[in-house]
């Protein structure tokens, strides 16, 4: 239910944005994130932008998706300091 995907804002008309996820464009409302601008990366849930994310998060999600779809492992190639999932080492 509470699934959300990171996407890039391509265009905004009124309070409807066109966002792009892995080359697929679709509409998303920015009613819940009114300060969103073209070029921002946002987390989209149920057709609404919910929060800002960084470009790295999008790259990381896309890399994971590609891996799930059978692509070679690329996650290790992301620099350590840019990867959200590697902030702590015990």
């Amino acid at each position: 239910m509470c699934l959300a995907v990171p996407a890039k804002v391509i265009e905004i008309k009124d309070r409807m944005a066109t966002v792009e996820v892995r080359g697929v464009q679709r509409p998303a409302s920015i009613m819940l994130l009114p300060e969103a601008k073209v070029g921002d990366y946002v987390l989209v849930h149920a057709g609404f932008a919910m929060q800002f994310v960084t470009e790295q998060d999008v790259a990381e999600t896309n890399a994971l998706w590609a891996e799930m779809n059978g692509a070679e492992r690329t996650m290790t190639e992301l620099p350590e300091n840019e990867r959200a999932s590697s902030r702590i080492v015990p």
């Binding site: 239910m1 509470c2 699934l3 819940l32 009114p34 929060q51 350590e80 015990p90």
Partner: protein, 368 residues
């Protein structure tokens, strides 16, 4: 600065850290997740298998579809069967059983039920069908509730007068409090729902530490993010600290999403709400405020649906509150499987029973 870290190594290091912490404690710890997406991610990645036996992960009421009670489904089905009604809903509601049937059965009998990706998709349907009442089944936790509120506001702005909501949204913190009030419940901490916290912020979960002296960690959904949160929980269990930490800082802020909260508060107010398996919990749901009642179908066209007590061996309620595992249910994997589910925990892909069944039929071993 561009040092490469192998994720496998990081995972092993986190696991070693968890093991070290738990050994120093000398007892079993139980952490509960209250988010269906966490449940699925934990199973998909096999985290239960690789964690030490003394770390138990318990699934709580984290799937909004699963906690929606029979009476709501019966009401939704009754509206769906009315001639002048179009129901819009998220797809995962279709097969949820009411007391007698489901929305998909009503659909097969001719009811006009349309699956939408976004609640906003209801508005064009309402515009195209001016002689119908379009009712969106507003189910979900704090993440989804503001989207329904936003659509109500958009309907008013666009002058759409045939759009309504049938609301059964739930709030996570009151359900956690209700679980903690149960003397049978032994929980050492919570893995807090990342996308709920995107809206609510971490402040809404501060009560865990303040009132119950329990640790909580807001977690992301990738296996390593969950492991890291479990590591943080074990750290706090060992030190006896009770704090609410944010380990999903890339999208979760202390104050959440203020615009979403404002829109939610404009349209909705807290109300007592019934949860499947947990019963009535004070102020744990949302109802449409008086000013917006013309968009609330339960006000505009109230129905008196009789409550039906189902005679079933389904132990969904105890599964949802973490008291038993799906294997303790006599129906699990026998009469109740994903293709023919009896309880809602098996219907939703994010349900606890569905996750246990899909990922190895629950026949996993804890790592040694």
């Amino acid at each position: 600065m561009t040092e490469k870290v192998d994720l496998h190594v990081l995972g092993r290091e986190l696991l070693a850290g968890i093991k070290k912490n738990i050994e120093s404690l000398g007892r079993t710890v139980r952490y509960m997740e209250v988010c269906g997406t966490h449940t699925v991610s934990i199973f998909r990645a096999g985290l239960r298998q690789i964690l030490p036996e003394s770390v138990e992960l318990v699934s709580g009421p984290g799937c909004p579809v699963c906690v929606t009670p029979d009476i709501y489904m019966d009401t939704a089905i009754a509206y769906a069967k009315q001639e002048d009604v179009i129901i819009t809903t998220f797809g995962d509601m279709l097969k949820v059983p009411g007391s007698k049937s489901s929305l998909s059965e009503a659909m097969a009998e001719g009811a006009d039920i349309r699956v939408v990706y976004s609640p906003l998709d209801s508005l064009p349907i309402a515009k195209e069908n001016p002689n119908k009442k379009v009712i969106f089944l507003a189910v979900g936790f704090e993440t989804t509730a503001p989207t329904a509120a936003a659509v109500v506001i958009a309907a008013k702005e666009q002058g759409i007068e045939n759009f309504y909501v049938l609301s059964a949204q739930k709030l996570v913190p009151p359900a956690m409090k209700s679980l903690l009030a149960d003397p049978e419940m032994r929980i050492d901490g919570f893995l807090l729902p990342g996308h709920v916290a995107v809206v609510t912020g971490t402040d809404d979960f501060a009560f865990l530490a303040d009132e119950y002296k329990l640790p909580g960690v807001v977690a992301g959904f990738e296996p390593l993010e969950i492991l890291r949160a479990v590591y943080r929980l074990t750290q706090m269990t060992v030190s006896g600290e009770a704090k609410v930490l944010n380990e999903y800082g890339k999208v979760v802020r202390a104050e959440g999403n203020p615009a979403a909260r404002k829109i939610l508060d404009m349209v909705y107010e807290p109300a007592d709400s019934e949860w499947r398996g947990l019963g009535m919990i004070p102020a744990s749901g949302l109802q449409v405020k008086k000013e917006w009642r013309e968009y609330d179908i339960s006000f505009v066209r109230p129905l008196d649906i009789p409550r039906v007590e189902k005679n079933t061996a389904c132990r969904c309620g105890e599964v949802l509150s973490g008291k038993v595992t799906p294997h303790d249910c006599p129906l699990f994997g026998k009469a109740c499987v994903p293709e023919h589910s009896i309880g809602p925990c098996m219907v939703s892909v994010e349900g606890v029973c569905a996750a246990w069944y899909k990922y190895g039929g629950g026949k996993f071993q804890y790592g040694k």
